[in-house]
Symmetry: C2
DNA sequence: TTCGATAACGAACAGAATGTTCTGGAGGAC
DNA sequence: GTCCTCCAGAACATTCTGTTCGTTATCGAA
């Protein structure tokens, strides 16, 4: 544990307060004033640690590495899928607060970018060639995955990680494989 | 044209001002004060027509039917895809303002629900059976489609509607077809 | 235990935004 | 032309933001 105990305490109180409030009212509705009251922390203290609400959210992202499971690229295509769903279930409360619709989705964009990078690397490793078409394919795959993740986070489904993973793979893998193996930039269109 | 001319004029000025401002600063950053200044309209006038910013956004949705192309279910699977991309391109400015990340995504959720209903109907028509697995599949498909739409709206790709459509179909159709024809609720898991 | 550094308190502040209310005046419908 | 509706404009209470500053308490190291 590094740093002053007071600093750790204050930061933790603020982070926890924000998460709790997001779960109650949704991200947009939470004000800085709410947070400092809940955390029982002085106003100036808040601003000496964070620049604003959003900053607190990002700090949560750093402290818990909650969207970076991808232990190793051991398995085949989309190896990230199952571990990521499971990781999300373990950290249920936090993930729900930060990634769900109530979280206002400011982190969804961040998560999508992260995932897009992972997917892109996997597809390249699987033999795809860099192109505008590949980028679009990545968007498709990420969209499908995040759709499932969000549906679970928002409680729209009671499916298990295994079932979510199965749905994802079955829906997306055949098309992706065909596209990679065929190695056609655009199926019916021009490249770029 | 119904109603008082002054009313029409005022409402139109406010709607146009909001769209313009969203394109400049993004939805979140636009204030009611900005809007009434741009529209050159009194403050009380604004609140006599709309309850808030979001209300203006919704009124835009009603006036232009910008996310309801789906002319008829003529073609095969995913018949909505190409017409919808084209429709989006035609209304470029407005769609960019309302659906893009700059639009804050308050309407993305609405669009997703709409699209989910369309996709669900198509899959049922194609022979799928209602189940929890089907709902998850719909989420996947919608996620992939909206991902592409958003990528285009946000200017991340210069692809044409035809190319977007092709990518979508090629990525998603094989898996969906296999799932429907096989008619297996969950590939490797339990139902519900 | 002591002591210097530093973090937190808390109150106050300017600035901006929201949403309401009122009065007088202008524009449109008929 | 008349009457009624809508609009302008200003003022207002309220809420939130982000900053400042003097005081107090807490920490870590010697």
């Amino acid at each position: 544990m590094s740093g002053d105990r007071r600093v750790r305490r204050t930061r933790r109180l603020i982070q926890e307060a924000l998460v709790a409030l997001i779960l109650e009212k949704g991200y947009e509705a939470v004000t800085v004033t709410d947070v400092i009251e809940r955390a029982d922390v002085g106003r100036s203290t808040f601003y000496s640690h964070f620049t604003d609400k959003h900053d607190v959210l990002l700090s949560n992202l750093d402290d818990h590495d909650f969207l970076r499971p991808a232990p190793d690229s051991g398995g085949g295509l989309f190896a990230f899928s199952l571990p990521m769903f499971e990781h999300a279930r373990e950290r249920g409360r936090l993930v729900r607060a930060l990634l769900g619709r109530r979280g206002g989705g400011p982190l969804l964009a961040h998560g999508e970018r992260l995932l897009a990078e992972i997917v892109r690397r996997e597809l390249l490793a699987a033999g795809a060639r860099p192109s505008g078409a590949l980028d679009l394919l990545v968007v498709c795959v990420v969209g499908a995955y995040m759709g499932l993740l969000r549906a679970w986070v928002d409680g729209e489904t009671a499916a298990s990680p295994a079932e979510l993973d199965a749905t994802f793979r079955t829906a997306v893998e055949p098309g992706v494989r065909a596209l990679i193996d065929g190695d056609v930039p655009y199926p019916h269109g021009r490249d770029e």
